[in-house]
Amino acid sequence: MASMVVVQHQTQPSFSTLTSSLSDFNGTRIHSQIQYRRKVLQPKVGLQVTASSEKNILIMGGTRFIGVFLSRLLVKEGHQVTLFTRGKAPIAQQLPGESDEEFAEFSSKILHLKGDRKDYDFVKSSLSAKGFDVVYDINGREADEVEPILDALPNLEQFIYCSSAGVYLKSDLLPHCETDAVDPKSRHKGKLNTESVLESKGVNWTSLRPVYIYGPLNYNPVEEWFFHRLKAGRPIPIPGSGIQVTQLGHVKDLARAFVQVLGNEKASRQVFNISGEKYVTFDGLARACAKAAGFPEPELVHYNPKEFDFGKKKAFPFRDQHFFASVEKAKHVLGWKPEFDLVEGLADSYNLDFGRGTYRKEADFSTDDMILGKKLVLQA
């Protein structure tokens, strides 16, 4: 078991922060928030996990987004890491910015257990045959999926689950905290049910609830949606007032949080919100994407979504409401802290992904044109 993770940042967070914009100001030390620290490509572990014993770790999934970064961190820490996937995607793909040596090192160590996690019998038999110390469930959606894993591994040390802040009941009082009411009817109720099953089974579990995740290789068109429009020089259509507050968390910070709860007593049977330290308005996010990618400040066009029928298409990548969660518990209990602030994180994503010409979804401006077309008509 890993021993207590030492708080990695300065131990006296003195907030003696008077702005340096005061021209005659001198004297009081400015506390530079860690969020403004320049982040280097390399997933920096930066932890002082002393003599963490090597674990035999299974990741359900691991080839798409979070797991890609998480598996690398775990392998670097010296653990034996197996990815349970159907094998549709290669087990290891070189990351943008990853050196050949690093990639060779990783791909030589990462292991594969090929199977379909919905085949519960296979899950149970293959896992029980191999035996794992720790399971990271990154792609589980329903509570049923967890049972065969737990049945197969009676001596499991820890089950670490990727849940979602989408389980929180909508509220006028925000941010969402881990103690808040959850919504049994939400789209993410499978995640909620999974958390309940974990608790009821008496296994040592930890659940992380991210908000919107972003970063290179994102398959959910969050930042990509803005980048497409910025690149095309198009106005950005934003529903409603544009002051809706949301929150993005960098995938590398999330991966670090997943590592930080490994073997951590303080994470035992706990839920943690994991996302960025600051929130952002829709309008602000459009501006941040432009700034991060080096585009000029975009034209924002606000519209009333009720006036349109977009059919099955999504006109905007975020839920049209305030949605953000406090990460103070993770900060206080785990000593975790996001390394990326928003513009830095978006720049990381842009420089390693979209800016290199790669993206997951083709640009589709059909809903934009509906919105802009109507606006033009109104102005005429």
Binding site: M4, V6, V7, T11, Q12, P13, F15, S16, T17, L18, T19, S21, L22, F25, G27, T28, I30, Q33, L169, S171, D172, L173, L174, P175, T179, D180, A181, V182, P184, L192, N193, E195, S196, E199, S207, G240, S241, I243, Q244, V245, E265, K266, S268, R269, Q270, V271, E277, K278, Y279, V280, T281, D283, L285, A288, H322, S326, E328, K329, H332, V333
Partner: protein, 410 residues
């Protein structure tokens, strides 16, 4: 919205508090870790049940653990209190809390004891301070040394100063420099200042956290700077809005006035703007922690707010729920309606949202504000004093509603 946990007792037993690597952490961080473990052990048990902010456990003790590092040390505290406005009630609560903790308190209200302003709350309840053993005096802060009769204090809390030096339009009672200078020369050990979260520069990324850019020309900013240069032990507190019995300024009352009279509630903009409304007891508890933990508090800025933001629409709805009445919210564009939003509405027409992260990190402070519950109590008092029956005019509201062609109730 967050609902109350119905039975928290069973939750307390389930998981043992985590052990801490005590040795490696400084006291302030150590304490905040342990308190969070305590809270998190309440959290972990049944994620499927409707767990809520454990308000009941919060109310029982202001902080989930006790920071009694200097419990034995009683302080002589001077509160320089404003004679009007939204902050007056802070000094009132703080005086009573400090007295309850055994400290010596003098509260100096600026201005004249016999002025009309003293007929309003909280001043008309200052007998409560006196009967708790506190001293009440009045005077000009420029003469503070004389006003307090040459007495020296360990701690001065300035809940009045707005500008370092005279500003043409401001009345001189808000001058801060004389108070700071006197405190320094008389050997005050800890200087605390009630600033304002209004000095934060609006930004795209809420919330305002300690360390964010502030408006350099703001009076409070100049005062903060002056204090930081002149006291080795200083702290500045930036509040937003507050509710609580004895408040000198309307907050929730603005909503109640309209709700009980079945009038529409006009809210500028989308109604989605965030604000932060704390119960003043939370402000008092944070300040008390600073007084009792001067080393930890020193050289810090603290947002003096609750740990939840509420939207403007949300506040209207919560007030209506507290009153047990329906509410009709009407949104309007102040420019289009030709009115000054500052006069029409008691909150800023923008996101105005700070979080109390420094207090939680450094002082181990916990927020107990629970708007749904607290507003019920506020409504009870609203009715008790007969304000629901008071005849009122709503000229600006009527103007807004007319511009929107919304029917005005007779």
């Amino acid at each position: 919205m967050a609902t109350l946990a119905s039975s928290s007792s069973s939750l307390l037993l389930s998981s043992p508090p985590s052990k801490l690597a005590q040795a490696s952490l400084p006291p302030s961080l150590r304490l905040s870790f342990s308190s969070y473990s305590h809270l998190s052990s309440l959290v972990s048990i049944s994620p499927s049940s409707f767990l809520a902010c454990p308000a009941s456990s919060r109310r029982s003790s202001v902080s989930a653990f006790t920071v009694k590092a200097s419990a034995a040390e009683k302080k002589k505290v001077l509160i320089v209190n404003t004679n009007s406005g939204g902050h007056a009630v802070i000094g009132f609560y703080l005086a009573k809390e400090l007295l309850g903790s055994g400290h010596e308190v003098t509260i100096m209200t600026v201005g004249d004891e016999n002025s009309d302003k003293m007929k309003k709350p909280p001043f008309n309840r200052f007998n409560e301070i006196v009967s708790a053993g506190g001293k009440t005096v009045w005077g000009d802060p420029a003469e503070v040394g004389n006003v307090v009769g040459g007495v020296t204090f360990d701690v001065v809390l300035d809940n009045n100063g707005k500008n370092l030096d005279a500003v043409r339009t401001n009345n001189n009672f808000r001058l801060q420099r004389p108070v700071a200078d006197w405190a320094k020369s008389s050997g005050v050990k800890q200087f605390l200042f009630i600033s304002s979260a209004g000095i934060y520069k609006p930004a795209d990324e809420p919330p305002h956290v300690e360390g964010d850019v502030v408006k350099p020309d703001a009076g409070h900013v100049q005062v903060e700077k002056y204090i930081s240069e002149n006291f080795s032990n200083w702290a500045s507190f930036r509040p937003q809005y507050m509710i609580g019995s004895g408040n000198n300024k309307d907050c929730e009352e603005w909503f109640f006035d309209r709700i009980v009279r079945k009038r529409p509630v006009p809210i500028p903009g989308s109604g989605m703007q965030f604000t932060n409304i704390a119960h003043v007891r939370d402000l008092s508890s944070m300040l008390t922690l600073a007084v009792e933990n001067p080393e930890a508090a020193s050289s810090n800025i603290f947002n003096l707010v609750s740990d939840r933001a509420v939207t403007l629409d949300g506040m209207a709805k919560l007030c209506a729920q507290a009153a047990g009445l329906p509410v009709e919210i009407v949104h309007y564009d102040p420019k289009a309606a030709g009115i000054d939003a500052k006069k029409a509405f008691p909150f800023r027409n923008m996101h105005f949202y700070a979080e109390p992260r420094a207090a939680k990190d450094i002082l181990g402070w916990r927020s107990t504000t629970n708007l749904p519950e607290d507003l019920k109590e506020r409504f009870e008092e609203y009715v008790k004093i007969g304000r629901d029956k008071k005849a009122m005019q709503f000229e600006i509201d009527d103007k807004i509603l007319e511009s929107l062609k919304v029917p005005i109730p007779v």
